[in-house]
Subunit: 186 residues, 2 copies
């Protein structure tokens, strides 16, 4: 058996670990059986696809970045923004190393081209990277809203609303979520 | 508030329902707390992206199809191939109607263009549609393999291996999975 095939399979298995990784923010907010990181990545990719298509960006690049955006968490686990700040610059290096190792099993020049997209996303270096950053936050706020609608504690979920997203459609969507939140019977 | 914004938000919320929908095949195979449909769609999209990039297809189209491929399940639920056969041609109509309704809230010509992609996928009408069909099956077999590695019952998981995928890389990957299965201590 070709070892590159086994490496490719190993990459897909590693990616599958995101299905079993609960999002830490929800665990801390007291949500029982919260969504997985893979669940979050799926809807983030859908939101990024729609925003990118509506704004006329290169959606192939946008969705690739969205699908890869939490790849490092296979090794680092899902850290909250507070946990990332505690680790300081070390975390940036850990995260990058994790992605390099994970992608290294891909054939051809895929490892390099996906790594470039991942770096582009981290640096917010293109309109497509910005769309993914906004989609990532909007997905989280929408999930916070849905957990609150299902009976989650509003004060535990409050901090997820402290996000900044781009002007225009992302901001409009955030406002629409705030309006829907205002209508929750409490 | 613009009603089109509320409709867009409603679409994203509907998509989020796939996070809470367990894959029926695993429930029937006796897997406790199986993955969600969203989990499956996430890794299917990653596999489709990699296959499409390696084979030089239009990956933007491929991933859009992969992200949308189980959309109908928001309304129909996740039916096994056997359940689909029982419902007969009615199911095809139900499924199509569900996707039309779900996409109808999207602004501009997105509903139409995503519907075209969904139909293209259903009909296997392009190399990109074929890639997604293969990725969908490979993802399922890999998950069956992983459940077996975690102690799932081999005879309950046997039927998930009865798939046909395209020649070349998809077949090679399926064989690599079979080889890995052969190495499981039983």
């Amino acid at each position: 058996m070709d070892s590159s095939l086994e490496q490719l399979l190993e990459f897909f298995s590693k990616v599958g670990e995101l299905k079993g990784l609960p999002r830490t923010g929800w665990v801390e907010a007291g949500i029982g059986e919260p969504e997985s990181v893979a669940d979050h990545c799926f809807r983030t990719s859908i939101i990024a696809m729609v925003l990118s298509d509506l704004q006329g960006h290169d959606t192939g690049r946008t969705i690739r970045m969205a699908l890869l955006h939490d790849l490092a968490e296979i090794e680092t686990g899902d850290l909250t923004p507070g946990q990332k700040r505690e680790r300081g610059p070390l975390f940036m290096t850990e995260e990058e190393g994790a992605v390099i190792r994970l992608l290294s099993g891909l054939p051809g020049d895929l490892a390099e081209s996906y790594m470039e997209l991942w770096e582009e996303l981290r640096e917010g270096a293109s309109p497509e990277a910005e769309v993914v950053a906004h989609a990532d936050k909007l997905e989280m706020v929408l999930q916070a809203l849905e957990y609150e609608e299902e009976g989650g504690c509003p004060s535990s979920l409050e901090r997820f609303w402290s996000v900044e997203v781009g002007d225009g459609l992302p901001s409009d969507l955030l406002r629409a979520m705030g309006k829907r939140r205002g209508g929750i019977d409490g």
